[in-house]
Amino acid sequence: MLEKGKITARQLIFIMLISRLVIPTTDLPVLTSPPANQDVWLAALLSPFTTMVLAAPLVLLAIRFPGLTIIQWGPLLLGKAGVAIGCLYVWFFLHNAAITLRTAAEFMTAVPMPETPLVVFILLLALISAAAAANGLEVIGRMAELLCLLLLAAVLAQFVLVLPEMEVKALQPVLEEGIGPVLLGAFYVSARLVEVLILAMAVPYLNKKSPKQIIGVLAANLAVFTVFFVLIILAVTMVFGAAKAQAYSFPYLSLSRIVSLGDVIERVEIIHLSVFIMGVFIKVAAFFYLAVLGLSQLMNLQTYRPLVLPLGALLVALSVWLFDSLPELTRFTQYQVWTPYGLLFITGFPLLLLAVALVRKKREGSSSA
């Protein structure tokens, strides 16, 4: 068995939550995607529904094959072509991890430690994430359990701390451009939902694998995430105003710099920074683990351990080499580029696989009749 560990539904939810919350707490790319004004929070609010739709093929496949990971569906359903799809997914996981690492490093370089070269951050974070991944899914789950609550508490705390600065007026006029852009925005938000892939990969290792569990995990994750996501967006929009918020490289960070309660509670950005690094760690560890696990499944290995080091080195190299500068990174994560890329993996391939699975089932059904 490649992975002996089991994780509980709660741990999985936490892993997914953290993975998803990390990016909004940095550069909040959603602010510039439609509708790109003060109605962004509405788009976020509506996103769980679009997400359910987009993730449907994935979830259906997971229910159909609860003992296999997404990597294994490909070869099962499509043979050699499926292996190719599996490889693409491994690449996707690795790519995601690399982007997250890079974003984190840029973040650290932007504010607290400007002169330290990126490599240092990337290397250290990659090291520790790889160590976590090498220890297995259970360990990642346990750490996620511990850290997720911290992260959520930090977001809440920050929201409360900036309450005095918030102006509800900044949210008006509501629906300035109509409901159309908002729905479109919700769609773009969903396209970033790569953590459903974590679900897809982790289902075989869940404690209980019933369809209700699987959907429950997704639903719980979406619910909690949406709440906090909306909170973040609300905070940023209400304090800065939509126009100015877009101007910031790291809106959420700038938010924490503003906090100044009675001269004593100042400079709380350290909480944000610390919690952010923890979140990055979990996300990178999770995606890296998925990549390693996936690759070892494709290669039919007995254990995934020997892959950790080479893939880890690859991860570091990718992070450094993929983008030359911060604007390049931002351009890539903007909705224009990211949406089709992400959708391909979240919906595209699963849809294809689902179709094949259905066709097969029909064939089997008709042949046995």
């Binding site: 607290p112 250290l124 259970e138 346990r142 359990e145």
Partner: protein, 509 residues
């Protein structure tokens, strides 16, 4: 088990007393504390016999009154008893004469020698092919005293001693239940140390007991002088700074842990008993917690967590704030610290490191010196060194405060002091080189390590991760006794219900 370095002689007891005597004398040659006593027993004093015992290990009163006297004196009377007719001497000895509780027989010379070494007396009778082993243990031991390390304000003040039997008796007194099983083992080729595995059958997880037995059986070393030896051989993560095996010197603690479904290991020769499985959160609990009021104890528990973190990250945080991220200090604090550090020659990391080392030296010195002097010297030493260093302009006063805070906080959680020292050092180094990022990475690293540890199959960080809300009643807070209705989930799974519901006290209706 082979006796020491000698291969098993496999010798049986000979029927000839002289031969036996010769053999035993050879075995115990050149030991001045072994005693041989030859005498005659029987009606007409016709049977010859001799006893062998180790002076200093036997209870002489018992020996003389219950063994020698009956054999040498009362035996003469026995044969006038009509019921004695037809029985030979060994039978009589076995059934009527020896007024002792523990009586065994063996035909194996090695076994007899081993028994003598443990304080039994061996009785050899002429023309009898077996030797009687009489339980006459009794030696000078430290009496039951107050615990040295785990002092309490409220609660029993007995502590284990170095004698296994006394310790087991103390545990027996706490749990008067025949299901309390005490399995004996001897571990160590040279030392043949008595080791007892104690558990409550029906509550304990049998797989854990089996695992304990298996790990203990695997040990093949020269000697076991302290439970720490055993700990090193049975623990899950020998290289980790965190202990996965707990120890205590108080019987009530052992009893409490047994009641939760854990297994205790008592070792002869040391008052420290081991308990497995051992979880991280146990290091932050104290026996006293269960005897005091729950609300107060809850507060104290939180305090312990705070102290733990303070002791581990204070030096690192100070260095980070001073040398990397000065923007994180509120302005007036920043100015105070800046003024304090004006003109200091050493970078903050170096200061913190050297003060830390100085402190550890003082602490160690205080422990090694004779009791009264030691405390005074370490306190005075610390104060003077700190004061003078500030005066000389080598160290800032903030640094001394930080070290003092670290030290005192460290004393709140003594069980983790080794781990804390290592954590402190690593975090200081990481923080001093990489600033806050390094500190977080270091903390994550330790957390990762903790999350990957298991103690005899139970995840080390339960009930924090995996999150078991019900067990948090004893971790995050200390729920009053009437609320803790179930045993810790992963350990006491076999018998989950601890007490009946509806126990909360209140005024009568």
């Amino acid at each position: 088990m082979p006796l020491g370095n000698r291969s098993s002689s496999g010798q049986q007891i000979s029927l000839d007393l002289t031969v036996n005597l010769q053999r035993v004398k050879t075995v115990f040659s050149q030991s001045s504390d072994i005693v041989f006593r030859e005498f005659n027993i029987g009606v007409g004093q016709q049977s010859r016999a001799f006893i062998v015992y180790m002076d200093g290990l036997v209870d002489k009163t018992l020996l003389y009154n219950c063994l020698l006297k009956p054999l040498m004196y009362d035996a003469r009377l026995a044969t006038t008893n009509p019921g004695a007719a037809g029985k030979n001497t060994p039978e009589l000895i076995r059934e009527t004469i020896l007024a002792v509780g523990v009586l065994e027989e063996t035909a194996d010379l090695d076994q007899a020698v081993a028994a003598v070494l443990s304080g039994s007396t061996a009785l050899f009778v002429d023309r009898h092919g077996a030797v009687f082993l009489v339980g006459t243990r009794g030696w000078e031991a430290r009496g039951i005293e107050k615990p040295d390390v785990e002092t309490v304000v409220r609660g029993p003040r007995e502590a284990f001693t170095e004698t296994l039997r006394i310790n087991t008796s103390m545990v027996r007194r706490k749990i008067k239940n025949p299901d309390l099983k005490i399995e004996a083992m001897k571990i160590g080729r040279q030392t043949r140390t008595d080791v007892a595995v104690v558990y409550l059958k029906g509550i304990v997880n049998d797989r854990i007991v089996a695992e304990v037995r298996e790990r203990l059986k695997r040990i093949d070393i020269d000697g076991v002088l302290e439970s720490g030896y055993l700990e090193a051989y049975i623990e899950d993560a020998p290289l980790s700074p965190f202990a996965t095996v707990g120890n205590t010197e108080k019987p009530d603690v052992v009893a409490a842990k047994l009641l939760e479904g854990r297994v205790a290991i008592l070792v002869d020769g040391t008052p420290f008993a081991l308990t497995v499985p051992y979880l991280f959160v146990e290091s932050l609990q104290a026996a006293e917690d269960y005897y005091s009021r729950s609300i107060y104890v809850t507060m104290i528990r939180w305090l312990r967590w705070v102290a733990f973190f303070l002791a581990v990250i204070s030096p690192a945080i100070y260095v980070i704030l001073v040398a990397f991220h000065q923007e994180l200090l509120p302005t007036s604090l920043y100015l105070t610290i800046a003024a304090d550090r004006e003109g200091l020659p050493f970078p903050a990391v170096l200061e913190a490191l050297s003060m830390g080392i100085m402190f550890e030296i003082l602490r160690e010195a205080g422990v090694r010196l004779p009791r009264a002097v030691g405390q005074a010297i370490s306190i005075v030493g610390a104060m003077i060194i700190g004061e003078m260093a500030i005066r000389a302009g080598l160290i800032g006063s903030m640094m001394v405060i930080i070290v003092a805070v670290t030290a005192i906080s460290g004393f709140v959680v003594p069980a983790l002091s080794d781990a804390m020292a290592i954590m402190r050092l690593v975090l200081l180094l990481l923080g001093g080189t990489m600033g806050q990022f390094g500190l977080i990475v270091g903390l994550l690293g330790f957390l990762l390590h903790l999350a990957s540890l298991r103690s005899f199959g139970v995840p080390y960080l339960s009930p924090l991760a995996p999150l078991t809300f019900q067990d948090l009643k004893d971790v995050a807070i200390r729920a009053p006794w009437w609320a803790m209705r179930q045993r810790p989930r992963l350990i006491g799974r076999q018998n989950p219900v601890r007490q009946q519901p509806g126990q909360k006290p209140g005024p009568p209706d």
